[in-house]
Assembly symmetry: C2
């Protein structure tokens, strides 16, 4: 890929099942699973976004355990993945950090289980990511999804994931995995072709 791509998991501003604005709690598995998926797809950094100070301490402790603590010797792959994770208070701080790292103002791409008239398709964004341009942050929501006020701040909104029916209540961990695979998986010869090549 030609662009730096970042992932961000938001815990505020989020909507709950009654469409009310809430802040959600960080969960340990969201740190691990999304770090591992991010590392698999060459993501430049994974932001865990929460305004709650006590959760910064918690996330910091988990990351430290795997990066420099006992976990780092127990499982070096996990260290490799968790080294992408960092915690920030809000989207503005995230934008600042990406700007410092890359020297460019990033584009924000929101994700949602709903379709909007101006939603961007996977094909469109995939081909955009292959061309040169500013860094891109893929923004994911917890709870019942990103608050509309945040989606309005995004430069693009990615179309929902269509399964085979009308059920679209994936976990955010599943959604991140599918979206990174759709956007970033290598174009590669099909396995048939690879096997044919091996025979030559």
């Amino acid at each position: 890929m030609n662009r730096q791509v970042y992932t961000a998991l938001l815990h505020y501003p989020i909507i709950d099942k009654n469409n009310l604005l809430v802040s959600t709690s960080v969960t340990n598995l969201d740190i691990h699973d999304i770090s591992r998926t991010s590392r698999t797809y060459g993501i430049a950094g994974y932001f865990i976004v929460t305004p709650i100070e006590a959760q910064h301490w918690l996330v910091g402790r988990i990351i430290k355990h795997w990066n420099t603590g006992w976990g780092s010797t127990y499982n070096s792959n996990r260290k490799d993945a968790l080294s992408l994770a960092r915690v920030v208070s809000d989207i503005a701080t995230l934008v600042e950090q990406v700007q410092e790292e890359t020297g460019q103002h990033p584009l924000l791409v929101g994700t949602s289980a709903k379709c909007y008239p101006n939603s961007t398709s996977y094909e469109q964004l995939r081909s955009q990511l292959k061309s040169d341009g500013p860094p891109v942050v893929l923004v994911f929501g917890t709870g019942w999804g990103l608050h509309p006020e945040l989606l309005l701040e995004c430069d693009y909104i990615l179309e929902p994931i269509w399964g085979t029916g009308d059920f679209n209540h994936l976990s955010v961990r599943g959604a991140v995995a599918i979206i990174l695979d759709r956007l970033l998986a290598k174009d590669r010869p099909a396995l048939d072709a690879v096997n044919e090549m091996k025979k030559d």
Copy 2:
């Protein structure tokens, strides 16, 4: 899709980080995440496979909470997803149950982070699933993956998920999401085409 497709998450026979045979513990989030992904992609049933009796009781309690207990009224989408989940002791029992439900002996498709000479590609399996034939069970491992003895019992082994580099340590929740999306996501007109059609 034309075939009945099932998912199975194995907790035995599994290998640990030292390649030793182990039995792993069922985790709550594996039940939830993989049920939700399975439901999204039209899976006929999701088997949680463990020989440990005490874990059957635990899984049964969790499923009951969401299917008929308090959870069923709190979140009906979760009930919808969790209704796919069932727990069995081993692969033989799983095969029997699928045979009872469908009247046909299922094909077992193993998954692995390693590539084998006879691995099946996503393209091959995707097109096979579209044609008529016996039901298919996609078998996923916990821990460090399915024990080789189990892979040998499978009719096919699916090729690994290629990310963008050499890191392939996805969580099983992430791997299931990506694999079901690659195999079962609807062929559909790109969003551009849909938007064009809407304008007409």
